[in-house]
Symmetry: C2
Subunit: 504 residues, 2 copies
């Protein structure tokens, strides 16, 4: 590296890290808002956050930073690999920010708050018409953003970039098209198997305090690091933070253990990804997530492939019985394992099982693609939702609150976000398949309460590289082949075949 | 107001409020650090905070803001009274900031962290020599700051301005000189009275959870608003926040009830001051504290003049007995009241009683004035401390940890801060004297559990005006005369005279 390039890189790093410090400070304010903030502080918090948003936007779009990035990209060959990653990814992020007028960014941020409020009311009253005009506005703003950013094929591509960089709607459509028919078949085969788990055993009275203790016990075992992390309660489970300050939240249903337990494990999967970046690169893309899909691969892996596995429960069931003796006295390990893997079509995505979950996501992706491409009318949305639900899951919501109004995402303009959930399942299954090959006794280790081997494998292969590789490259590097839906389908057929009388 | 001035004022307000939003966001990060943050997040938090500090400094010293302030001050006659206050106070704050080089501000901020660490270690080991070089550095930096800011008489004046604007060291010296001899006499008279309260009754086992409930019960009664406030636990009690987001912290000693109870009431006094500003002026000096001395007058009033009064305990003692039946079964109201007003010379300022507390403060003020004026050597500090302690309180610390090393303040460069604690007691006594005149049945109201009359009186007279009046003006407006130590002395003589056999 020439002295000039080294100097440019040093200044670039300083500006890049300052943006991260501001973003992560804003993240703490967001976490505080959901967990700690007194209710009357909301208007002030809105102003604090939008002040920070403005400053972050100014810095992301500063001409000095663009100039430095240009210089580094021109001399990319002279940079070390980490510096190359940082220059490349900051170029992507800042170029996108520079295409979005500050005014548009602010209108989106302001509309989000009002639109979300209208969604809350509409959902409470199950009245789609209350929400329709705000959804219209929000979508118009996101279309405006997509048009400002530019795209080649689908307008959704420009929005996807925020969540799953370098992916396109047509790639995702292709993957989902291959996934949907076998999933629909699988759900049908399970229904026709005639096997029904003892569902009521997970719906007994589980005191929230004990639920929390059991959940903390589990994620500590998995390797979530409390020296650089914590767990709180919020209305919507989430993970906030990065590298050395990672905060999970969960919530409790006193009469349904799986919600908090698997919810917390899910968030811990996200959290361990963030904790696994190399702290020396903190504040730069080199120590940040590749994409939401890769993020979700970590959360879904711990939630479904570990915590919903028979080998995990071989280890954990005696502990569960110690935490909840009365609730589990008449329950066997096999019955418990079957009950936490109860598969049946249901209305609510976040409560869906491992199989039907993906159908919920595919349905949303198809609809949001049509919405953003202006191919369907907002007014037709509820009917369309219900029709697709019938086609994919064989049931129809009894009202819009439990149908098209159930998710917060579109109300705050998160369009193109849903597919990352199913991509996460696909990535997870493919990664896990490789992990099992490279650690042949992985399930024996789980059954013996040893999970750190998996965490270390994930850390080395997936966490530590940060954004060194793009999502597609990472999958190929780790598993030796491109993303393929067969790994998820094989996993589901094997697991649920053996649970549901060799149905599939 | 001309259109041009109105426009200048609008822009001024926008810049002023943005600074406040950044400062209050930094305040939340500071609160989080003391209450919630995982330990391993400390280095990241340091960088987040110093990034914000830099941005705040840049904005306080921006030439555009200075230009607008200049324009507003030139046209002050055309401004409404609120705008006049805001322009005047922002001028004071920004002119000070502009005199301090960014580099010096950053050196101070960096040295604070290291110096505080050395103080923690020195205190743990009771080894002043470990701390001496850092205190030397910290004082040198603050002297540099004082010299950059400028002063007429004492270098301490330039530092006082941060905490007690418009006050001078010589004014404070004069007040303290009048206060010290009668206080020393009073302490002696109490000691010679031969009366001793049943000290052990406040040192029984009080479970922290119950202590917290009782404390929350009390401050809710006093009028602390939980819709815009909350209470947590931290190593050092503090109040963070403003107007619509005010957070108190407390700590518990399982075997000493007064610490958490009066500590929490003290912070609630600070908190009610902040909650009492007019929310329409949020983010401007018009809705900010006059000075730390005035702030402290509110905390000390609720702590000592309300919660340590006989009339409060007439109301609260039955509740105390309901919360702690076993601990208070053999205790009478009068015994309890005497025990929470136990006066005797002690080593630790934060545990000192209402009378001796002021001597702890005067001693520190005298020493820090000499330190900053370069009239004593750091190496002589422990001996000097112990000598003064002997002179003022008649006892000598057994080691430096419980002597000169006990307070955090000097380690982080807070020089000129201590006198605001005693000023607070003086202001409080004088304000309270007026409140009693204007609400003659004030103590009867306390005895009946009615505290909102006092809170409303304080809100109207002291909180709502924000920085409309300078501290001296405020005292004259509210009480009809300048600050006078006689109110505190009269209060102490009456209260402790009747508690200690008409000793004084």
């Amino acid at each position: 590296m020439t002295a000039r390039t080294a100097q440019a890189y040093a200044e670039f790093l300083e500006l890049t890290k300052e943006i991260f410090y501001l973003q992560s400070a804003a993240g703490i304010l967001g976490w505080d808002q959901q967990t700690m903030m007194p209710p009357g502080a909301a208007p002030l918090r809105g102003r604090q956050s939008s002040t920070l948003t403005g400053i972050i936007h100014d810095r992301l779009t500063s001409s000095r930073l663009a100039e430095l990035i240009g210089e580094l990209r021109e001399n990319a060959a002279a940079l070390d690999p980490n510096a190359q990653v940082n220059a490349r990814e900051m170029q992507r992020v800042t170029e996108r920010a520079r295409k979005i007028p500050r005014d548009l960014a602010q209108r989106i941020s302001e509309t989000q708050i009002l639109s979300q409020q209208s969604w809350i009311e509409a959902k409470q009253k199950s009245d789609f018409d209350l929400f329709a005009p705000w959804l219209e506005k929000m979508l118009a703003l996101r279309r405006e953003e997509a048009d400002a950013v530019g795209y080649e094929e689908s307008r959704l591509d420009a929005l996807l970039e925020d969540y799953e960089p370098y992916a396109t709607a047509s790639q995702i459509s292709e993957v989902f098209s291959a996934l949907r028919p076998p999933l629909v078949e699988l759900v049908q085969a399970i229904r026709e198997s005639g096997v029904t788990p003892r569902r009521e055993i997970v719906r007994r009275r589980f005191p929230p305090e004990r639920q929390k203790e059991f959940g903390l016990w589990a994620i500590r075992k998995f390797g979530f690091d409390f020296n650089i992390g914590r767990v709180d309660v919020s209305a919507h489970p989430m993970t906030v933070g990065n590298t050395t300050d990672v905060r999970l939240t969960t919530r409790f249903d006193e009469e349904y253990l799986p919600m908090s337990l698997f919810g917390l494990v899910h968030e811990a999967g996200h959290g361990m990804y963030e904790q696994g970046f190399e702290v020396d690169h903190q504040g730069t893309p080199r120590a940040m997530a590749v994409s939401l899909g890769i993020h979700e691969s970590q959360s879904r892996m711990w939630e479904n492939l570990v915590a919903r596995s028979l080998s995990f429960w071989k280890y954990a069931f005696p502990y569960l019985q110690a935490f909840f003796p009365e609730q589990t006295r008449d329950v066997s390990l096999e019955e418990w394992y079957a009950a936490v893997n109860d598969v049946r079509p249901s209305l609510i995505r976040v409560e869906a099982d491992e199989v039907t979950y993906n159908l919920h996501v595919i349905l949303r992706f198809e609809i949001e693609k049509e919405l953003v491409e202006d191919r369907i009318k907002i007014a037709d949305l509820p009917a369309l939702w219900n029709q697709r639900f019938q086609d994919y899951l064989g049931i129809v919501p009894e009202n819009d609150a439990r149908g098209v109004l159930q998710d917060i995402h579109w109300s705050i303009g998160l369009v193109g976000y849903f597919p990352t959930y199913a991509l996460g399942n696909l990535y997870a299954a493919q990664f896990f398949n490789t992990a099992q090959k490279e650690i042949p006794d992985l399930h024996e280790r789980f059954a013996a309460g040893e999970f750190l081997t998996l965490r270390e494998w994930l850390r080395t292969k997936i966490h530590a590289p940060g954004q060194t590789y793009r999502a597609g490259e990472l999958v190929e590097r780790v598993t030796g082949e491109p993303l393929d839906a067969k790994y998820l389908l094989t996993h589901l057929r094997q697991k649920f075949g053996s649970l549901y009388g060799n149905c599939c």
